[in-house]
């Protein structure tokens, strides 16, 4: 069994940060950042998902297998998207 028990306080804190980040991403979308806006939104979404993964989903306390394979999955998806852009990006 998991030795770690995450306190309500800590989980609540994580929720707080997530809500703040949601507000930030909505706010930033109102600014005119041009082509940067999608990138900024994705960085914030990435941060939010990292928080959910690490604390809500206990990834922080998991074995190297799960952490590594999760990163691999994301990496494969990124490669699929990235390599497709050899086509889509150069049409």
């Amino acid at each position: 069994m998991d030795p770690h028990i995450q306190s309500y306080k800590k989980l609540g804190g994580v929720l707080g940060v997530l809500l703040v980040l949601t507000a930030v991403t909505v706010g930033v979308s109102r600014l005119d950042l041009g082509s940067l806006s999608l990138g900024v939104a994705m960085v914030i979404a990435g941060t939010k998902s990292a928080l959910v993964l690490l604390f809500f989903m206990h990834l922080k306390y998991e074995s190297w297998l799960i952490r590594g394979s999760f990163l691999m999955t994301i990496g494969v998806l990124a490669l699929f998207i990235g390599f497709m852009f050899w086509d889509v990006g150069f049409r």
Binding site: M1, S29, V52, M57, E62, I66, T73, L77, F80
Partner: protein, 198 residues
């Protein structure tokens, strides 16, 4: 056989399953990225037609429900049975509110005559049709996952009630929780990609 008490292994299996879900939605994000590249202007102008307030509310709803599920695990670990059941019930109720919002949102769009194959949509520029095609596909598939996640959470509530999930034995809750968090995780990306590209 020897595997029944290996909770690490069972959780590993659940994570592997989550990877398949990530890749399933990943295929749609592949399409999104390509079509965004092809129709950037149309995507931006069409994104403004979506209700940012409703989208933000749904984001908050899912984040809070995720928190409730994570807290429910803490509650089970501390043997606070009633508390855990209450937290999970809250998460399920929030899931229902999410779906209700989705129903209103889709209903409103249908009312305006915007749905796949509708005459109103067929006359618009290509980027707009594709945007709505992706919008309905992704949010529809996501809503389906919310429904499945709610069923899993209800099963967990019942199991806590029957004493089948308890302090030393909460693997099922952990795995169902992981599923619920994943659904949240996917929404975290759907939200900016559709509601916030302004």
């Amino acid at each position: 056989m020897g595997s029944h008490h290996d909770t690490v292994g069972a959780r590993t299996g659940m994570w592997l399953f989550l990877y398949t879900e990530i890749m399933l939605f990943g295929g749609l994000f592949v399409l999104y990225s390509a079509y965004y590249r092809m129709h950037a202007q149309a995507f931006i102008s069409t994104g403004q037609e979506l209700d940012t307030v409703l989208g933000s509310v749904n984001t908050v709803i899912l984040l809070v429900s995720s928190f409730l599920v994570a807290a429910a695990i803490t509650a089970v670990q501390r043997s606070q049975t009633k508390g855990a059941m209450a937290l999970l019930t809250g998460a399920v109720l929030l899931g229902m509110v999410f779906l209700a919002n989705k129903y209103l949102e889709w209903g409103h769009k249908f009312h305006l005559g915007i749905y796949p194959g509708s005459p109103g949509l067929e006359d618009s520029p290509p980027g707009r049709i594709v945007f709505y095609g992706l919008y309905y596909t992704i949010t529809g598939l996501h809503a389906l996952h919310i429904v499945m996640g709610m069923v899993l959470l209800i099963v967990c509530i019942a199991m806590i009630g029957f004493g089948r999930i308890q302090k030393e034995r909460f693997l099922l809750l952990e795995n169902c929780g992981l599923y619920w968090h994943l659904v949240d995780l996917i929404w975290i990306f759907i939200f900016p990609l559709f509601y916030l590209i302004l």
